[in-house]
Point group: C2
Chain length 406, copies 2
């Protein structure tokens, strides 16, 4: 068994970096706080005798050798970056559970056949630089390195410059072919485990995602003398697009999702009809055809709405990931681990994107979910119990030992 207190303490220590007044964390990708988190993680891994590799997008790999020099690695990991108003567990739970497995093996002097490797992927959240899962996306070839390097944040800073600024552009080449199995423990970020009073979610796969940036351009004019029928009001268009996205998501239940998370109005004056609105669209679904249909329906709605309101528009895809089904053998290993430990468990589909969904396309992957309070994440009030954190880490230990051999 892993050490529950040790894991909890590491999580709480890490949560001090970027801690917010409301008890959450703001440690966005490639900021100086992200650097501090990475430094701390590496320091702790080195203390366990791990060797460190850093690749060209800043992914960090910490390796504990096995007895068989020809064996592929059994990996665990997740991410250290957070949302602007994020919580303590999203990402960190997976990374530090991996580290806790290594600490436990060291403590009990256990040698595995395969090497054990813990990975912290760069920019999983995608909130500062879209898309999400950028580090694992580049690692697996899902996302083009050069394109990602040129992505900018709201201030126009590129990923390339931000990576250099925190000195985490590495030169180690790490290949997906080195991976025997990849496990990612994570909080569920949804309400299902809590609602069903279940400790472990055996994740069978994850929703596909389509993200867009949308700019609507009309004509800014005075809110008083401009008759309603002569307006080209970009905000009217934005309101209708928001409703269309939601309607389309509702038409694709139970798996469809549609969210407008960002919107900025120009010029943003109370008595001026907005001449331009910039907004983001996030769509998800479990079935590939349904996700494609949702994307097409939204594009058609945007076209129609803009025509009716006399608006020009630019609809730019910023992320496009197919749904992912995890590796049956290792999903079974997670289920077996939960069973052996006597933990309640159900099969579950992830609504959030995870690095495991990219890794799963190039190597066998699986995930372990634990409940979070009220199903809330991407919120400073995000919360998980020490018991659930401990249970998830123990399932990871079982699944990794099963895959790595003794």
């Amino acid at each position: 068994r892993t050490d529950s207190d040790r894991l909890w303490e590491s999580l709480m220590e890490m949560a001090k970096l970027g801690a917010t007044a409301k008890g959450g964390v703001n440690r966005q990708a490639l900021t100086d706080l992200d650097r501090q988190g990475r430094d701390l993680f590496i320091q702790w891994c080195r203390a366990e005798g791990c060797t460190i590799r850093i690749d060209n997008i800043g992914n960090i790999f910490a390796r504990r050798e096995g007895s068989d020099p020809s064996a592929k690695a059994v990996m665990a990991g997740s991410h250290l970056d957070s949302q602007p108003t994020g919580g303590k567990y999203d990402g960190c739970f997976g990374v530090f559970s991996g580290l806790e497995v290594i600490r436990t093996l060291n403590q009990h002097n256990i040698t595995t056949q395969s090497p054990i490797e813990v990975v912290a992927w760069t920019n999983e959240e995608g909130c500062r630089f879209p898309p999400c899962m950028m580090g694992s996306g580049v690692f697996t070839g899902e996302l083009a390195f050069d394109t990602m390097m040129a992505r900018t944040d709201a201030d126009g800073v590129t990923v390339s410059d931000a990576l250099d600024a925190i000195h985490y552009r590495g030169s180690d080449s790490v290949s997906p072919s080195e991976i025997k199995a990849y496990f990612e423990p994570h909080i569920e970020q949804g309400p299902i485990l809590e609602d069903t009073d279940t400790t472990i979610g055996v994740v069978i796969g994850g929703l596909g995602q389509k993200w867009f940036d949308l700019t609507l351009t009309g004509l800014e004019a005075h809110a008083g003398p401009t008759p309603m029928n002569l307006r080209r009001d970009a905000m009217m268009g934005a309101a209708e697009v928001t409703q269309a996205l939601n309607r389309i998501a509702f038409e694709h239940q139970p798996h469809g999702r549609g969210t407008v998370g960002c919107m900025t109005l120009h010029p943003g004056s109370r008595n001026v009809i907005p001449g331009q609105v910039k907004m983001t669209l996030d769509m998800r679904h479990w079935e590939p055809e349904a996700l494609i249909a949702m994307g097409q329906a939204v594009a058609a709605a945007v076209e129609d709405i803009c025509q009716r309101h006399g608006l020009a528009y630019e609809l730019t895809p910023t992320a496009d990931f197919a749904p992912e089904h995890f590796n049956k053998e290792y999903v079974d290993a997670v289920r077996e681990g939960a069973k052996k430990l006597g933990l309640s468990h159900i099969d579950i589909i992830s609504g959030a994107g995870h690095d495991a969904m990219f890794v799963g396309r190039v190597a066998p992957a699986a995930m372990i979910f634990i409940p979070c309070k009220d199903g809330i994440s991407h919120n400073e009030i995000e919360s998980a119990t020490p018991e659930h954190v401990h249970a998830g880490c123990n399932v990871l230990l079982h699944a990794m030992l099963d895959a790595a051999g003794l």
Copy 2:
């Protein structure tokens, strides 16, 4: 006749203060650029021998004495502040037309019976500090001085502090009872004069206004795992409120107006359901009952929308002005002036709020409109021709001389 070139040069000189790259002006109320504009105006008025008074909200009165010491003043004016993306004519045309009348009287050594006074009202735009027409509102008692002093901009700066910072809190007391007639020349800010190829709009009155700040509070949560039917998405509420406001405005044609000019989403991350949206609502109508009905319909819609989406809300009125009918005698004087000068003219209702609408409640008031290009204002591309500017100023001269007597 007034001097067309002199007026145009003054307008162009003033437009240098806060000039934007796109040919407009950003000289918002009570900023240092506003101070520079005020200083320049006062300097020019002093050069014409005027005495200056500044009241407690920073309104500036520049007076040219008449022959009759007991006579009330004939006033002209408007405002020097602009929208963040404003134009060169909105406000300044009225103030500098008034100054041009004084310059013309001085040039021709004409003594009027009543004193002539030019006024520049504080914060007419209301974009930095709501509501609009703050200076004339305080002057006429429509707006409470103490309440206005405590109003804040987006950075939390109060009107009181901003007024002190530019040293324009005056101590002169100026009374509405001093006013015989108030005339305000202004660009139309709408498409009607241009569409009908008319030079002068004889303004019979202006739309009433209701402004609100609305905060919608739901629950921020992850855009992926949170099922559609369990969301409390503040942006969904904001989109529906925007549509409701527009629908209600369309139901009250031809005079109804509804505009959402500002909206901010919290936390503003592409894969987070917004937990809070702050937005502004601007409603207008010509009939008092219709304006009240619009306000009630919007309030009811907000209540219904928030109930359906599980949102809390705060709906705070920031401006509430009844429609204004101008003084018949001086409206006729404007019409007569246009006639005498052989200028095409039509009666028109102002969609924009103007200081004249407040002054009109405590003293006889009237307005003179000239066309602006494509009816566009509150936009850096706002434009008017020297010919129309000159024509409007000549009508002002006639109307003021008619009221002031020789």
